[in-house]
Symmetry: C2
Subunit: 567 residues, 2 copies
């Protein structure tokens, strides 16, 4: 019998390890092979360059309000690195730089940090890089670690954010700004790199404005991070992590497709991470060619109801049954129900009722729902009704993210098909299988693209800080070309901003980049989906490869948006 007993094994006798960080001796072969993978840099970073400023910038919307909110930074030009023999920044001034990871993980975050570190090593020898631990809270609480070559080594080209971890706190109140100032002063920080999504980059800009207004030397540079792919613009063609996450999900979807075709009897409903925008779902569709793909932005634009979505799925299933296919694959964005106006209305009413009333067993509370909402609530499968009532976040709100949309749709489709069967218009068999692909995509080993892109973003952020820039987001462009030809620079964060009115005040926001229905990726998808629906054009991307000819592919969304492939 085994030495340790399952249930009686005395854990008390086990010594906690002295180190809890990564130890590369317990790395897998693939992890180890990635650590020492050297990364190409854009040529402009490898040779002498100078920084050229562009024209005065404006804002994405409401420039007057943005100008008021950022009196010191508004109008800043973007910066671009160009080769220059006479160029070069002063390298005798050592720098003290901080870096922080903010929000959800995205593959490549470690490489941004390595890029900053290597820039400092290569060009500003003797500089110090501090990593703030646990996200922005680390700045406020002064929790940091000095990042050394040995410290960061095990994280090179590795997934996750565990080098310094992340957090979702924000620096936004006067007291919080004060704490950040104290930390910046204490560490004598010349600069800070904030790696995060739209909110975090907005906050980075507010921090930059605040430091500048206090005449502090600390400059702030942002980096575009999110697997959701919804932080992007002309100058910042993609956020890092999107490429890797989509390829991980597409691997799984491709496998499920082969399974569906082999078995011939299941409809796989796959919900994909990505709350606000449906970029991940769209990209996975372009990579794999599923029979049905629901894009939240389209559902919203066409003011569709849940019943409409259900009917669309049912119609495809009926048509496929006629052709003899009783199987298929359906992709659904995690945030689907956020896009459906009637559901938003129901949830708003539920939040109100849950905040002020008792949900009685007999259902008297339902009388508070408006007619349309009551009808929708009754249309929902019982398990979903319960989730809506029982699962609430700390503010008492319905936890929309917890709703298993894929299971809900299976039940609703099943009910409709049952009706069709009774009517005699459906003779097929329907069996739904549900999947949620989420966490397994956030922390994978970054693809060659993400690893290289992040390294350039970090390296470029180092340049921007050394040259005294603040309030910019690190911008690496021309991404459809070979790495050598990538452009490097920084874009004024205020140029990406608009304002939203919250609680009667204007708040600056970087608007999330949603799927554009007249954008190249959606148009390509829309031109093909009817064929995919009926015929089986499944593509199985297979596992991400790190070496060989297949290892440097870039995602379809980026290539289509850059016009680098035929639409």
């Amino acid at each position: 019998m085994a030495p340790a007993l399952l249930l009686n094994g005395d854990l008390a006798t086990v010594k906690p390890a002295s180190t809890t960080g990564r130890v590369s001796s317990v790395y897998s072969e693939v992890q180890s092979s990635r650590i020492d993978q050297s990364l190409p840099l854009p040529s402009v970073l490898k040779n002498p360059f100078k920084i050229v400023d562009g024209p005065r910038s404006s804002a994405a919307g409401n420039p007057d309000e943005i100008a008021k909110l950022f009196p010191n930074l508004f109008g800043q030009p973007s910066a671009m690195l160009v080769p220059s023999a006479e160029g070069g920044l002063r390298s005798d001034l050592k720098l003290k730089i901080g870096v922080v990871l903010s929000g959800g993980q995205a593959p490549g975050g470690h490489n941004v940090i390595c890029g900053i570190f290597d820039y400092l090593q290569d060009h500003v020898k003797g500089s110090i890089l501090y990593g703030f631990k646990g996200g922005p809270a680390g700045i406020m609480k002064g929790k940091y670690v000095e990042l050394t070559s040995d410290y960061i080594h095990p994280y090179r080209n590795q997934g996750g954010f565990d080098m310094i971890c992340s957090g979702r706190d924000k620096i936004e109140t006067p007291e919080q700004f004060k704490q950040a100032e104290e930390t910046a002063l204490k560490l004598d920080l010349d600069g800070l790199v904030v790696i995060g999504g739209d909110d975090s980059n907005t906050n980075a800009c507010l921090l930059a404005e605040n430091f500048r207004s206090k005449n502090m030397k600390t400059r702030v540079i942002g980096c575009p991070k999110t697997i959701d792919g919804d932080l992007k613009c002309k100058e910042v063609p993609t956020s890092f992590g999107f490429d890797t996450a989509c390829k991980i999900y597409a691997e799984m979807i491709g496998n499920v497709m082969v399974d569906a075709r082999s078995t011939g009897k299941y409809y796989h409903f796959v919900r994909l991470m990505g709350r606000a925008a449906s970029h991940i779902t769209l990209e996975c569709a372009l990579q794999t060619h599923p029979n049905i793909t629901i894009i939240g932005e389209e559902v919203a634009a066409k003011k569709q109801t849940l019943k409409n979505v259900t009917d669309y799925i049912v119609n495809v299933i009926l048509k496929r049954a006629d052709l003899g296919y009783n199987y298929g694959v359906i992709l659904i964005p995690e945030g689907l129900i956020d896009f459906i106006p009637e559901v938003q209305q129901l949830i708003a009413e539920l939040n109100e009722i849950l905040a002020h009333d008792i949900v009685d067993e007999n259902g008297l509370w339902k009388k508070k729902l408006k007619d349309q909402s009551l009808k929708l609530f009754e249309f929902l499968p019982r398990a979903i009704q319960e989730q809506l009532l029982l699962e609430r976040d700390p503010h008492g709100n319905v936890q929309v993210a917890k709703i298993e949309t894929e299971k809900m749709l299976i039940q609703m489709v099943e009910t409709e098909l049952e009706k069709k069967k009774q009517e005699g218009s459906y003779l097929g068999e329907f069996k739904g299988q549900s999947h949620f692909f989420g966490y397994e995509g956030r922390c994978g080993l970054p693809t060659n693209f993400d690893a290289t892109y992040c390294y350039a973003l970090g390296y470029g952020a180092g340049v921007l800080l050394q040259s005294g820039k603040t309030g910019l987001i690190s911008s690496v462009g021309n991404l459809a070309a070979p790495v050598e030809q990538w452009t490097v620079g920084g874009t004024a964060l205020t140029a990406l901003m608009d304002v939203e009115r919250r609680h009667g005040k204007f708040k600056p926001v970087i608007k999330k980049a949603m799927v554009e229905l007249d954008g190249a990726p959606f148009k390509k998808f829309a031109s093909l989906r009817n064929d995919w629906a009926i015929n089986n054009r499944y593509i199985s991307p297979g596992p991400i490869q790190f070496v060989g000819p297949t290892s440097n592919a870039v995602n379809h969304t980026l290539l289509l948006e850059l016009g680098a492939v035929q639409n």
Copy 2:
């Protein structure tokens, strides 16, 4: 706006494709790169060889009964290929061979077929290979396709079973045997290769016995297929598909581990496919080092209750909370509850009640449960109670496979931790995240190991058939050595058999190979798990690589069982 409307797009105008098979023009880059990957063969297959028979065989149990059930085949020796200059089989006799895939998919099945095909092309030119479609039903109904070089080409090194698809029918009644005979006669079959699990190989042997008893020339060879890894013995060290499936699951688990460590606030409960045995879960544990791993065979051996399992998990969580870790990863085999005696008892009672009684709303039916079963039923979370009552298979039985054990355990752990919190003995925070990794592992692109192993299994099956063998399972051994040194032969299927009494009659069975608690893989796991529980020794295997130094790794279970690595 997009050309095709989501909900009004007229599917009727879309032309169904004329071909529904694979078209390599829509392959991903990785799929394409795999098609033309040439595979190494064991040296013995590349040079002249002869076949050497071993000693007379017996049975795994009850040899007298097996001898009665297989009067023509019992006692057959195993066959082994050995290099021989004078050797060589007659190559002027063309063969007609059939092949069938039976049961659930496993990565590599297509390569077995390619191996048979290539053997015939290389050594018995002019032979014909028929693929029976949709599993054993294809044999009985005479549904087949002639497999040509062009036909099989797009499936080389690809996942899935869609070349000829599979099925779960069995050939077991006299009428069914008759149908199989008719097909064999009609096609003038010299041989048949049955690719399947324990049941399918048992049936293959019955078919071989039947053909032999009728003096038919059709010989039958089995091949060991199942991702579950529970069809193996000394001569057949592993079943194909296990290596790939485990690596796909381990990739996802490794990603989730990095996520857990980065976020620091989730316990991920991962249920893994594999009903009967826990090999997949054990292998994934050896590859990734989770904090907690439940092995069904151990739970059964120790007669544990669900409460015991819950307490074990809770104890580790408490200990980890003391150390400051409020996160972790827990692996659970799909079949866990099948291993728990009290649950089996409850399910047996429920099946009985559901068959004969009405489950009334007021719960009067519960009075029919025995005390212990009622207590367990009440201990279960409500959602699980409902699943037990509502989800039934076509025979009216409780669908154990549908029970989301990972969610059940999260709820039970949560309840226990809440109690500890009330008592003041737990100060941590617990958030469970559930995952099921199943279908995405069955149909992935086979690893280099599975691709090569399957090709050798098929190639060897061709040899066995050409040399007139029947009732053997293709056996490729010495798998820890380089491919060149692999051994090739066949093992008497009757030697793997025992009998079980069903409905008063002896039935031959190949016993499923369960996780052995005194086997090397479990012992290694058991010696390390307490360390893994408390310290974080996570390993992230990353995506399967097809080229480069990391592409030829073999799974831990196989290497440990072969004694090829330190235990």
